[in-house]
Amino acid sequence: MGIIGEKKPKSSSSSSSPSSASHCADLRAAYHNCFNKWYSEKFVKGQWQKEECVAEWQKYRACLSEHLKDKHLSRFLEAEGLDSTTGADPAGVADGAETNPSN
């Protein structure tokens, strides 16, 4: 059956090792920490006029795009680009990749 149609890296080990995820781990943690703080201290209190954590986001996003392949994330982007049935994602990941929020 030609079911395994997904483009997998030609490594033999099927259980993807945690190393593939560790590339951007620090940048991700920095962004998520910043985001969580902003969300619970500002956003929920109605202070949503100013976007924060912009620098953290840009660094993290740059790392992600660099390691898209080993993190299998390209598939997410494809799926998001093709499918807009939820209506919950007007930003559109595929074309939003470079649109970083302005300061």
Binding site: M1, F35, Y39, K50
Partner: protein
């Protein structure tokens, strides 16, 4: 073949706390042990509408595939990738998450919709969490016989995990509340 499940849970914490906890649920290393099926969460995109107070976020979530061994065997992988789209409306105080699987789509489509909104009887103190899960097995002839089993396993897994998820949510809520009560940063 579609199965749909609905669950409702009331958190006795305000909406602000509960939705903050929801964001932290997967990322917090403290919870990695409880939610061990979650492997990785990445934010792919986010957008803030500063006028209306709406926040749109897309995250990639990698989990251990919910299927039994024979599904893993056919598919050749044991990691399942999902995309989670979230809309938070700060003005009306609602949070809506939609999670769909990206991998294994040829076999199964799982969609989970979760909504957090203030409880009508106590809008400042309690939060309702409404969750709808639909599981659709693709009618492939080779899979027809095992489909029922897979469906059952998926459903069981989802229910188990949502109970675990609630425990984690409670813990983070309590943590956030004690934090905001006492020593704020």
């Amino acid at each position: 073949m579609v199965k749909a499940y609905e669950q409702e849970h009331v958190y006795k914490h305000p909406w602000e706390i509960v939705t903050s906890a929801s964001w932290r649920k997967f990322a917090d290393p403290e919870n990695k042990r409880t939610l061990s099926h979650i492997l990785d969460v990445d934010t792919l995109n986010h957008k803030l509408d500063a006028e209306s107070g709406k926040l749109y976020t897309t995250r990639a979530i990698s989990i251990h595939a919910p299927g039994p061994w024979f599904v893993r065997k056919i598919v050749g992988q044991d990691i399942c990738h999902c995309v989670e789209s979230t809309v938070v409306d700060g003005q009306s105080r609602s949070m809506q998450l939609t999670t769909r699987n990206i991998s294994l789509q040829k076999f199964i489509e799982v969609e989970e919709r979760t909504r957090y909104y203030p409880h009508p009887d106590n809008p400042r103190g309690w939060t309702v969490c409404k969750q709808e899960t639909s599981i659709r097995i693709k009618p492939l002839s080779t899979l027809a016989s095992m489909a029922e089993k897979v469906e059952q396993r998926c459903a069981e897994r989802f229910l188990q995990n949502s109970v675990k998820g609630r425990e984690v949510m409670e813990r983070i809520c309590k943590y956030l509340e004690s934090e905001s009560r006492g020593i704020t940063f």
